[in-house]
Subunit: 193 residues, 2 copies
DNA sequence: CCTACCGATCGGTAGG
DNA sequence: CCTACCGATCGGTAGG
């Protein structure tokens, strides 16, 4: 049973903008494009929002907040570093699959943020990536993981997790939790029998 | 010893454009930006190129050609499917690391291609992805690989290989061949000891 | 949420 | 490779 909540005009604007930013890119999306999708004039958008970039900021920082919020689940895991990595993969994939449009914008369009937002964004990303690196480092020191370059490994793991925004379909057979588990399994155990 | 070859103006334009397209995105890069970097007027660019999109087309299809050319090395491999996958990873990473700017544009800006180039591009990508899927499928049928969804696995593998454009530095300690080997090793055997 | 409009900038052309 | 310029479009504002 689906509950229909009436969306505010502002919410509608942000949703449609997210979709357009994903499809055409932030720079190539005009406020007139956005207005047309909503059936209003471009000038009318400014009754609800301050600027085009404000929309981008909302999308990027809301996604960032969700990644950090999801990490709380990871911190509860007290088992092995493999178990921690699996929890991190699941948490990460869950956030992405909840809104693949916003995720696409988050991953690709952040560079159009102006200062000081750009610097803030990059600092948050560094913080988040550091958490994955810490799991890898601790797992290596512990003897649980192979000796690999932790930055190299972190980037490789995150790239495969991040890529889910590109092919995940809510109508598909794999649930987000299952996708996270399978990706963690690949990362930890590999494709070979 | 480095051999300095005099670059044609057209080559210079394409190189600078590649860098700008990567940094700012295709849509956000103006012909005036590009002209300024070259120290000429925007109108002068059109003595050497037909249009802004022509530059994007050159970048995207040149990269595609290189990925296909590199695949010839993969076809020579007559060993196991693991060996084939390693060869594919090395070939793929070699192409990316040869020009990370062009790779970034190839991965992110292709959607700004107009028809019929866009359709042609997507067909080539599908062909290329199919080759990875075939290795995976054959490896599973052969009993060499775990039973996984081949599309899911192909996308995951390619995402981790593709991501190298983002962090590879020619001055770093890892050579492209070594990066390909390590990524293949992770894909095949995982992080766990 | 609209009409009317702003200055700035866009990709590109004409003609030399 | 330049000057001079085109029509189109941009993000955004004033005033209702």
């Amino acid at each position: 049973m689906e509950i229909l909540v009436k969306k505010s005009r502002k919410q509608q604007i942000e949703e449609k903008a997210t979709k357009l930013f994903r499809e055409k890119g932030y720079a190539a999306t005009s406020m007139r494009d956005l207005a047309q999708v909503l059936g209003i004039e471009a000038a009318s958008l400014y009754s609800h929002i301050k600027s085009k970039e404000e929309i981008l900021q909302k999308i990027c920082f809301r996604m960032a907040d969700q990644f950090f919020a999801a990490w709380k689940e990871v911190e509860k895991e007290q088992g092995s570093f493999s178990a921690k990595m699996e929890k991190a993969a699941i948490a990460h994939v869950k956030v992405i699959t909840k809104d693949t449009d916003a995720s696409a914008v988050f991953f690709h369009e952040w560079r159009h943020l102006s200062e000081p937002h750009l610097s803030e964004f990059l600092m948050m990303r560094e913080d988040y990536e550091g958490r994955f690196k810490t799991i890898i480092r601790n797992g290596i020191e512990n003897g649980e993981f192979e000796k690999v370059d932790e930055k190299f490994m972190m980037l490789t793991i995150l790239s495969s997790l991040n890529w889910t925004y590109n092919w995940y379909k809510p109508t598909g057979s794999l649930r987000p939790e299952e996708i996270g588990k399978q990706l963690a399994n690949l990362i930890l155990n590999g494709l070979k029998k």
